[in-house]
């Protein structure tokens, strides 16, 4: 019995786990504030989309292992179980999704350049890199235009990114990548290339950026995008927006958030609320059943209300009304998210 267990363990010991352990061993040499960390979020979500309700417990762990001050190994995985209750005493329909969002090795060469190799989040506009973590995004659903330019979210290849210029007036960042034709379930990728450049004005709290992607396979689809973020006066209001144009469709989303921290502080009962509004539209130029975008012109208005609980927990709620020629509908979402962050092993503070 013991032998059987040993064989099973050896078989299920994936190369990825071996890489992770190897990096953890290397990271043992790091000291002080550079202890490897385990971070991420867990959440329980429910959604009612034009009738049926589903529940999706989700875990999204992040592991970051620094190896000296120049190398960083980092990975983020996801585990999502979609549960859809069925009527007439039938058993619930469940679907387990698990995968790698990114698994990359970063080499911080100098103050202007960081080289990234592995599977990374496609640097197109802002949503994919910044707002897909469940503990950050205000709405459960990705924007309708998310499939444009993001290539499914992840890309396997190499990337060069960093800060081009930084001062008190403006910060200019860039990201440039290429991806190879890679098979496999978790690291599947197509030959493509892309660039993004963005400028952030700290005094105005304003950011603008432009992105471009080009794929060298199939019909050689391309995508261009622009984003605009603004925090007026550095206050509790946040405006985020993106525009994306693809081969067969184009669209935008605009999100407004207002944290009520002006009322008795951010830790008061009222101050923990954040009302949200997101407007989004997709315009179809030509049909394409494979691009994961709505088949017809679609508009959606999302009304959200988040509540920031103590201890890094948050309640997300939203109501959306979607309009399209195939039918209008209501979408209700609620969720509870907990964000965690701790060192990979115990030690002295």
């Amino acid at each position: 019995m013991a032998r059987e267990t040993g064989i099973t363990t050896a078989r299920s010991f994936s190369p990825r786990a071996a890489v992770l352990i190897a990096f953890l061993c290397l990271a043992r040499f790091c000291a002080g504030q550079d202890t490897p960390m385990i971070s991420g979020g867990v959440g329980f979500f429910s959604g009612t989309n034009k009738g049926p309700t589903s529940f999706t417990p989700t875990a999204m762990p992040v592991v970051a292992i620094p190896i000296t001050q120049h190398f960083l190994f980092e990975t983020r995985d996801y585990l999502i179980e979609a549960v859809t209750p069925r009527k007439n005493n039938q058993s619930d329909q469940t679907l387990l999704l698990k995968g790698v969002s990114f698994l990359q090795l970063d080499y911080l060469a100098n103050r202007h350049a960081t080289f990234v190799a592995g599977k990374f989040l496609t640097p197109f506009n802002t949503y994919n890199e910044r707002l897909t973590p469940i503990w950050i995004g205000n709405f459960q659903d990705n924007p309708l235009i998310f499939p444009i330019g993001n290539m499914g979210g992840g890309t396997t290849g190499g990337q060069l990114r960093g800060s081009l210029y930084s001062s008190n007036r403006v910060n200019i960042d860039y990201a440039s990548f290429f991806s190879a034709n890679v098979g496999g379930k978790q690291f599947k990728s197509s030959r493509s290339t892309g660039d993004r450049i963005e400028a952030y004005f700290p005094k105005q709290r304003l950011e603008v950026g432009f992105s471009i992607d080009k794929m060298f396979e199939g019909n050689h689809p391309y995508a261009t995008g622009a984003h605009f973020w603004w925090q007026p006066s550095g206050g509790p209001m946040t405006i985020r927006s993106e525009y994306a144009h693809g081969t067969h469709a184009q669209g935008y989303w605009m999100e407004f958030g207002y944290r009520l921290s002006q009322f008795k502080g951010p830790d008061s009962f009222i101050g923990r609320f954040e009302p949200l509004f997101r407007m989004q539209q997709v315009f179809r130029n030509s049909p394409d059943s494979t691009d994961a975008l709505p088949g017809v012109d679609t508009q959606r208005a999302d009304f959200g209300l988040d509540y920031f609980l103590p201890h890094n927990a948050r309640i997300n709620t939203s109501y959306s009304r979607q309009f399209s020629s195939t039918g209008n509908g209501n979408i209700w979402k609620t969720g509870l998210v907990y964000r965690f962050m701790f060192p990979a092993w115990p030690g002295k503070q």
């Binding site: 002080g32 800060s163 990201a175 946040t238 890094n312």
Partner: protein, 104 residues
């Protein structure tokens, strides 16, 4: 008996006077805060400026996407900042300023 009482009172007064003299010779923490010497002012001012700068950088860069975590173990602040330097394309100077602010 009366002489002994007077001697005890005189002794107490002396000890009180000595105590007062000692207190007057040593600057109290409050006084030190209100009137620091020039040498003391410089590092404190630099520390305050650095902290303000770090806080400003934190608000400018990190608060664009998320709130500050309520509990950040000091042992992983360097790792978090390295991670965010790549993810958010932080400049090296901003990374260091925020690190000094989060883990002075």
């Amino acid at each position: 008996m009366r002489r002994q009482t007077l001697f005890a009172i005189a002794l107490m007064q002396c000890s009180c006077l000595l105590g007062l003299a000692q207190t007057a010779g040593t600057p109290s923490p409050n006084k030190a805060t209100s009137k620091p010497s020039a040498e003391q002012t410089k590092p404190a001012a630099i520390h305050a400026t650095t902290e303000e700068q770090g806080e400003r950088k934190f608000r400018e860069n990190c608060s664009r996407c998320h709130n500050a975590p309520e509990d950040l173990p000091p042992r992983i602040t360097g790792t978090v900042l390295l991670h965010m330097r790549v993810r958010a394309s932080l400049s090296e100077a901003d990374q260091k300023a925020i690190l000094r602010y989060l883990a002075p």
